[in-house]
């Protein structure tokens, strides 16, 4: 069953087009991530799903019902906000009860719901406190509790973790994922953090300039990004974009890479699909972890300009085809700046882009 379907939704303010025809379909129980840089329209889309803004065109379906003209409160949704939006003059219990109260839930049932939610999120001891007396993480928890109390068909999370410090953010991220596993409710989650997107989502919609750049599973988006923007946005450190000529050497299609005086020819796998581009300029996308140390002395001899040890890995910076390239190596394999390492790209995972259209080739 479709939990949420967005069909050709547009939004404009005067001549400014915020959303330019969005199509999304989410099945019941799925975790959808809307990710993109600020101003890409993801929050507007979220508000349209919630009913807080109305679309200029298109349809929004929740649980197979068109909700364009349905008020936010009647859409059977609950939302967690970035600023938590807890009512400051009410204590936690009243905050959770408010939504039940306006819906006319009897007092006894309210107490049961509050007890259930408090138990689920382990916040029994916070019920009588005001939001001002809670830490950031506790407020986050209460905001989620308020949403859970409603038992909605659809949860909306609007950048819920961006006001937390780094450690807490990781903890809450795990907690949200566990919650989703337990409840199996459909979740739409807006974030600008690509790590949150990768770790939480069943499906990711990468947005930019009011257009969905790619819609797919995290692994699809990571392995076969639709265009340069998606490739650069997802993954940290970013994918290396190496400009190169596509050439054919002895029937094998590949690219030539050059670093300082050294050069090598990197053949592409399954290369006939690139035949149309032979002799043309392309952009080769190689992720930092897709570089291996060529122990046999082959590969490309690269001079290291800089290293960034992260603990489990060391990122080494070098220059290939005139641009800076980052490679993620085991600390044991890394060398200090100034020395030379023989690196070999894993061309089976490399992706090629057309430099004009910025779209993936093949």
């Amino acid at each position: 069953m479709g939990a949420l379907a967005i069909k050709n939704v547009t939004k404009r303010f005067g001549d400014t087009h915020i959303l330019k025809g969005i199509d999304i379909h989410v099945d019941s129980g799925e975790f959808l991530i809307l990710v993109g840089p600020s101003g890409c329209g993801k929050s507007t889309l979220m508000n349209i799903i919630a009913g807080l803004e109305s679309p200029s065109g298109g349809e929004v379906h929740i649980a197979d019902r068109i909700v364009n003209d349905v008020a936010p409160k009647d859409r059977d949704i609950a939302m967690v906000f970035q600023s938590y939006a807890l009512y400051p003059t009410m204590n936690v219990r009243q905050n959770i009860a408010f939504g039940l109260e306006t819906r006319g839930v009897p007092k006894k049932e309210q107490d049961e719901v509050i007890a259930r939610v408090a138990k689920m999120l382990q916040m029994d001891h916070l019920l009588d406190r005001k939001p001002g007396q809670l830490s950031g993480g506790q407020r986050q928890r209460v905001a989620m509790g308020r949403a859970l109390a409603r038992n909605p068909k659809l949860f909306l999370f609007d950048e819920p973790l961006s006001n937390l410090d780094a450690k807490l953010r990781v903890e809450m991220r795990t907690e949200i994922k566990q919650l989703h596993h337990r409840l199996k409710t459909t979740i739409v989650y807006v974030t600008h953090d690509q790590i949150e997107a990768m770790t939480l989502g069943d499906k990711i919609a990468v947005m930019k300039d009011g257009v969905i750049q790619q819609f797919g599973s995290p692994q699809q988006i990571y392995d076969t990004p639709a265009n340069l923007f998606v490739a650069g946005f997802i993954g940290s450190p970013s994918m290396n974009f190496i400009p190169a000529h596509l050439a054919s050497e002895g029937g094998v299609i590949g690219v030539s890479l050059q670093s300082g005086d050294a050069a090598c020819f990197a053949p592409l796998l399954d290369s006939q699909r690139y035949a149309a581009y032979v002799g043309k300029r392309v952009i080769v996308g190689v992720r930092p972890e897709q570089w291996d140390l060529a122990a046999d002395g082959g590969g490309l001899a690269c001079k290291i300009n800089l290293t960034e040890p992260t603990g489990p890995d060391t990122i080494v910076f070098t220059q290939i085809n005139g641009i800076e390239v980052q490679a993620r190596l085991h600390p044991r394999d890394a060398r200090s700046p100034g020395s030379v390492l023989h690196l070999r790209p894993d061309m089976s995972k490399a992706v090629l882009f057309d430099p004009e259209t910025e779209i993936r080739i093949g």
Binding site: M79, R103, R146
Partner: protein
């Protein structure tokens, strides 16, 4: 700050405080003296024997024109005027501010700009048109008319106070309440209004002071049994008999000023706090 400088600072503050308290002291001591003592002694001396005769007279028997029943009637007129006028103008200001900050509509910024313009219109300009309007409404020379004038003239200021305060309340709070199923009124009464205590105090004190101390509208738009205390005080001080009774005049002035002084003493800390809150957020 070093010790000697702190001393200088306190000295300056003390002198400033004395300077501003001196008139109050003169009024208070004069009001407690007898006429003989006023004629004999100097302005700054303490009263020899404390006498409340002047206060009794100012309250109950002093002449304000041909009538000689003191300020008591005027005082209760002012109370009857100020309470509804303050409450209504504050309530309307809160509602306006809520709409102009959280329920914006096409043209709401223009409406706000026009309201602000109302702050800059000198009240003298309003006298004739307002008199005409009150006549049409059948409210001329009545207490209800005077309340109406104060409400209308107060709305611009109260709206500005509340609107600027509410701009600082995050919109997400309103969105959350809408998703919780609350409508316009429930959000206002349950979420927004309970957060408004600081600005509510500022507005109540401000409006109370403005309306209680108003002389112009009281003089122009009221008569006889509906005149406020400011007009009564003026009449009392201007009713000339053979001797000028300074002690009675001072007691009358203090009676007229007492409510505003009391409000500042009781609620002054909210006033400062509310103004500061507005300053940070607005």
């Amino acid at each position: 700050m070093s010790k000697p400088w702190r001393g200088v600072l306190y000295a300056v503050l003390l002198i400033a405080a004395l300077y501003y308290l001196l008139p109050l002291y003169v009024m208070l001591s004069t009001s407690l003296k007898t006429m003989d003592e006023i004629r004999a002694g100097n302005l700054l001396s303490l009263p020899g024997a404390i006498s409340f005769d002047a206060w009794h007279k100012a309250w109950g028997t002093a002449c304000t024109g041909i009538e000689c029943s003191g300020l008591s009637g005027y005082f209760w007129n002012s109370v009857r005027m100020v309470i509804p006028a303050v409450l209504i103008s504050t309530a309307l200001g809160a509602l306006n501010g809520y709409v102009l900050s959280k329920w914006r509509f096409r043209g709401s910024e223009l409406a706000f700009a026009m309201l602000l313009f109302g702050l800059y219109i000198p009240f003298q300009v309003l006298l004739l048109p307002m008199a005409q309007t009150l006549g049409w409404f059948g409210l001329a020379r009545s207490m209800a008319g005077l309340v109406f004038v104060h409400v209308v003239c107060g709305i611009a200021g109260t709206t500005l106070f509340f609107r600027n305060f509410y701009v600082g309340i995050p919109d997400e709070l309103i969105k959350a309440a809408r998703l919780d199923g609350a409508g316009f009124w429930r959000i206002f009464l349950r979420i927004v209004l309970p957060m408004s205590l600081p600005i509510l105090m500022v507005t109540l004190i401000w409006q109370f002071t403005q309306i209680w101390n108003d002389f112009l509208f009281g003089l122009v738009f009221s008569s006889g049994e509906s005149q406020p205390i400011t007009v009564g005080l003026n009449n009392l001080a201007n009713t000339s008999t053979s001797v000028k009774e300074y002690n009675v005049n001072m007691a009358a002035a203090l009676i007229a000023a007492l409510p505003t002084i009391a409000v500042y003493v009781l609620a002054g800390k909210y006033f400062v706090r509310g103004l500061a809150a507005g300053a940070v957020k607005g």
